[in-house]
């Protein structure tokens, strides 16, 4: 068993629901106990869809367990087909139904429904949401896109955009942005899938010249199969960030022989980032966590396009651990591959970054540790399914990233004034950035160290036992709050290495000189 306060991903059947809901004429019959319909809310509330997800649940109860739950499943499947007449049907089990082993695949095969049926095997106790989505999409593609394309006309190159789903972080607008780039290059879009696709569209996938794997977490398996089965090359650069978007365009250009100049747009990010107002962003220490694709992309933007220092990089989806490890090596940081929220919390606490780029969960951690934070990846809540246009991809996406990431930081002049004058009754560092809502005043780490019983999470650093003199403690408070944690940590490490028992003002400044960058 695993103690879980927060889970980064839902169970795999939620991934399957994301595929079914993204598509137009697919219905999903899910063998699941009463209550699992909560998942509908993800789509109707978080994504605010105006339609029920195309999912029929068997919602069995305890009293059904003594009877024929298999018959219950068959009735549900038959009724669902009669009512919705889908182009294809998905059938599968949720975690509890997996335990009672009714075998939806066998049951539905015996029913001989007049539409293609994909029986999903989603091991709920091993795998998670993204895997479930990828597997479902792959199985659908395998089933529906088996026959080869007639013959591709070479008049104009065509591409499939694969990966966007329901409940995807900014998928709606990313697709628009990527379409814009393809349009500028003169590349036609054959099919976007699964988002908005019909089963007939899936059957047309082989007609494209190549595939764009926009979200590897969802589409990688299907893209590999299409490459193998239909010989379609795959564009693998994910266009998040200015540089990555240029690379994406270059990859498209190389593949199609089209001149990339037509799609290149300066965007605002390069100038915004070079303007002197952004100088104070240099070397800001940032911790990055999310799904592997977004985390890796964010690290590049953070270092190369905003001038931050990446001090931590991690992802929660083990499937892409190898890519993340390679990226972490680029930045000289230890990769953090975990789906344990408490481990992420520990890492952030130990690293004391000035900015956290993460998921909804890292917002919780950052809030508790009072570190500015921006969201770069699912899981996200309703506020990250905005009404306005806000892609992450392409040149407009880079503009959005710049604004979103800089916003939580205290602005330059304010940062200087907070350092120079510490006793202002309104603008104190305890209040946080003045353009954001004031945070409730929490005890400083210094004060918590004095009274450990109020600190729920004692600092993991073993040198916490080292004594700070009162003078040094006061001096520490004069250091701007966003680097104070790091100063404390460095000083304690410095003292530990030299076996200094009591930290004085001099120790503090000796350490500062020692670690000066």
């Amino acid at each position: 068993m695993q103690l879980t306060v927060w889970t980064y991903e839902g169970p795999p059947h939620v991934g399957a629901m994301r595929i079914a809901t993204a598509m137009e004429d697919v219905h999903y019959v899910l063998h699941a106990p009463q209550g699992d319909t909560y998942a509908d809310l993800l789509f109707t509330m978080i994504e605010r869809r105006g339609k029920r997800p195309p999912v029929t649940y068997t919602t069995f109860q305890a009293r059904d367990l003594g009877k024929d739950t298999a018959a219950l499943f068959q009735t549900a499947a038959r009724d669902a087909y009669a009512r919705f007449t889908p182009g294809a049907m998905l059938v599968g089990a949720s975690c509890t139904a997996e335990l009672i082993q009714d075998d939806p695949a066998g049951l539905v095969a015996a029913m001989d429904l007049p539409c293609p049926v994909v029986a999903l095997e989603l091991p709920s106790y091993q795998r998670k949401e993204n895997w479930g989505a990828a597997e479902t999409f792959y199985q659908l593609v395998r089933t529906l896109a088996a026959s080869p394309a007639p013959n591709r006309s070479n008049a104009r190159p065509t591409a499939n955009i694969l990966g966007p789903t329901a409940l995807g972080f900014r998928h709606r607008d990313d697709v628009i942005e990527v379409r814009r780039i393809l349009n500028a290059l003169g590349i036609a879009v054959n099919v976007v899938a699964p988002l908005g696709a019909t089963t007939a569209d899936i059957a047309r996938l082989p007609a494209a010249d190549f595939n764009i794997c926009l979200y590897p977490e969802i589409a990688d398996t299907a893209c590999r199969w299409l490459a193998r089965e239909h010989g379609q090359p795959v564009v693998t650069t994910v266009p998040i960030g200015h540089g990555a978007t240029r690379d994406f365009i270059a990859e498209l250009a190389a593949l199609t022989g089209i001149d990339p100049a037509g799609a290149c747009d300066p965007g605002h990010l390069p100038w915004w980032s070079r303007s002197v107002d952004s100088t104070y962003l240099t070397g800001k220490r940032v911790f990055i966590f999310g799904d592997a694709t977004h985390a890796i992309a964010a690290a590049r933007v953070a270092r190369d396009e905003l001038g931050f220092e990446v001090v931590g990089l991690g992802c929660y989806n083990r499937e892409f651990a190898r890519d993340l490890r390679a990226a972490a090596a680029l930045y000289g940081v230890t990769p953090l591959i975990t789906d344990d929220y408490l481990v992420v919390e520990e890492a952030i606490q130990a690293l004391q970054p000035e900015l956290v780029l993460g998921t909804q969960m890292e917002r919780h951690i950052a809030k508790r540790l009072r570190i500015p934070c921006a969201v770069i990846s699912a899981p996200v809540h309703v506020q990250d399914f905005p009404a306005r246009y806000s892609p992450q991809m392409g040149f407009e996406g880079a503009n959005v990233l710049f604004d979103t990431w800089v916003h939580p930081l205290v602005m330059g002049l304010e940062e200087h004034l907070l350092t120079m004058f510490r006793d202002d009754f309104e603008f104190s560092d305890m209040a946080g950035a003045s353009h954001l809502a004031p945070l409730p005043v929490a005890p400083e780490p210094a004060l918590q160290a004095v009274s450990p019983e109020v600190a729920p999470h004692p600092a993991p650093d073993a040198s916490a036992a080292r004594v700070w003199s009162a003078d040094a403690e006061r001096e520490l408070l004069k250091i701007p709050f966003f680097v104070r944690g790091k100063a404390r940590r460095n000083t304690e490490r410095f003292a530990a290495e030299r076996d200094v028992a009591t930290i004085t003002i001099d120790t503090l400044y000796d350490a500062k000189a020692h670690y000066a960058r």
Partner: protein, 425 residues
């Protein structure tokens, strides 16, 4: 005073109930944790279940989990199922880890889920074993919040019922009153003040705000259910010798009056004093209801099953605001506890218990009520079809009981209609 006699025996008590089996679009009992963990301040809820359970809780808890919540999930893994790990050892390890992180916890609930029940993990024995191990600091109890056994608010019923056997025995000869059901603090305080003014006491609440302050129970305990979904808890209290006072549920001026009156009668409060004491609150409630009446009177309303609050709320809306219930669906109909409520519902009301959601939606589309009370999985889709909805969960997450919330309760139903009239987009 609102009693069945006052409104005549024209109610729904003899109406046949439509019973349907099919897809049920409802929450499981685990969702009760969302409000229970705030009500009992030193309790922790550890769900023993799957990733689905954890996902449900965090999706349902939404922003609440920004604060360190007092609930978590012990997720069953492949090796637990394969027998490679002893589930009981694993559970002990998780509980140790959890209590280390939260040493302030005095009461720990091991909450059963569908997976833990299907694999027949004996959480009651685990709770007994762990109670011994952590004796002196933390009490450990168990109940089921699984979807296969409980629907939404029944999770609270199961939790409170689990508390009952551990309540101290009350051997005193003097009768005491127990209010049963987790109410918002402000509502609880209002009721306590009213009972005090009526001279009724001692009054306890189940649950109490702290694990150490749970009420005693005995043959002289009289209890009032504040919520209609507390069948198991009522039975457990009756097993301990306590007596249930039959009353309407305290929604609106009439419901609250009847509910208080049941206690007043049981404690021999003089009729004059009763009327005098409740008059100011009752008047305020009636004034507050008058604001919402023009918008609600004559409007047709349907309830889809969710929380078992449907019947008392339909009664309130019908008799105090003139709304017309079309269909009132409930996940479970406790006939004995709701007998007086049913008697007050208009005879033409269609009652349904259980659900086949697609068929029920067909009926809603055919009925086209002015307002449909339904869960969040259905609300936006129905709005997109042009039907105005009131999402039902809010009725459990808002202070709605008692005189001083009657206006707010009416407003919960009036607001979607007002908004519909207000928007020009």
């Amino acid at each position: 005073m609102a009693t069945a006699q006052h409104f005549g025996r024209t109610g729904c008590d003899a109406t046949p109930v439509l019973r349907e089996r099919g897809q049920r679009e409802v929450f499981c009992g685990l969702t009760g944790i969302i409000w229970l963990h705030r009500k009992i301040q030193d309790a922790f809820f550890l769900v023993v279940g799957s990733r689905t359970c954890a996902h449900l809780l965090q999706s349902a808890a939404g922003v609440m989990v920004f604060a360190e919540p007092r609930f978590a999930t012990a997720i069953i893994e492949e090796r637990d199922l394969a027998g490679m790990a002893d589930c009981n050892d694993e559970l002990d390890r998780i509980v140790d880890q959890m209590l280390l992180r939260r040493p302030d916890i005095k009461l720990l609930f091991l909450v059963g889920s569908c997976p833990s029940e299907v694999i027949k993990l004996d959480l009651s024995r685990a709770a007994a074993r762990l109670s011994v191990k952590h004796g002196g600091t933390t009490r450990i109890l168990n109940y089921s919040g699984s979807g296969i056994e409980t629907t939404f608010t029944e999770g609270e019923d199961a939790c409170l019922a689990a508390l009952v056997p551990g309540l101290a025995a009350d051997a005193s000869a003097k009768p005491s009153l127990m209010i049963v059901g987790a109410l918002p603090d402000v509502v609880e305080d209002q009721f306590l003040r009213l009972f005090d003014a009526l001279g009724i006491g001692p009054v306890h609440t189940l649950p109490a705000r702290r694990a150490g302050a749970m009420p005693p129970v005995g043959p002289n305990t009289r209890f009032l259910l504040a919520q209609p979904f507390l069948g198991e808890t009522a039975r457990a209290l009756e097993d301990r010798g306590a007596t249930r006072l039959d009353a309407l549920f305290p929604f609106g001026a009439e419901g609250t009056t009847d509910w208080l009156h049941a206690a007043a009668q049981a404690f021999g409060v003089d009729a004059m004093q009763f009327r005098r004491t409740i008059a100011p609150g009752r008047e305020r409630a009636k004034r507050a209801l008058a604001h919402a009446r023009p918008l609600l009177e004559g409007r047709r309303i349907s309830f889809l099953p969710d929380s078992q609050l449907e019947i008392p709320l339909a009664r309130f809306l019908a008799i105090e605001l003139g709304m017309v219930p079309v269909e009132v669906g409930t996940p479970y109909l406790h006939r004995r506890h709701l007998a007086r409520e049913l008697a007050l519902l208009p005879a033409a009301t269609r009652l349904s218990e259980g659900q086949d959601v697609d068929r029920q939606l067909d009926r809603v589309r055919a009925d086209r009520p002015d307002l449909t009370v339904c869960g969040l999985g259905l609300a936006n889709p129905l709005e997109a079809e042009g039907l105005t909805t009131k999402w039902a969960i809010e009725l459990v997450f808002s202070p709605v009981h008692g005189f001083d919330q009657a206006g707010d309760l009416a407003d919960l139903f009036a607001r979607p209609l007002r908004r519909r009239d207000l928007l020009r987009v």
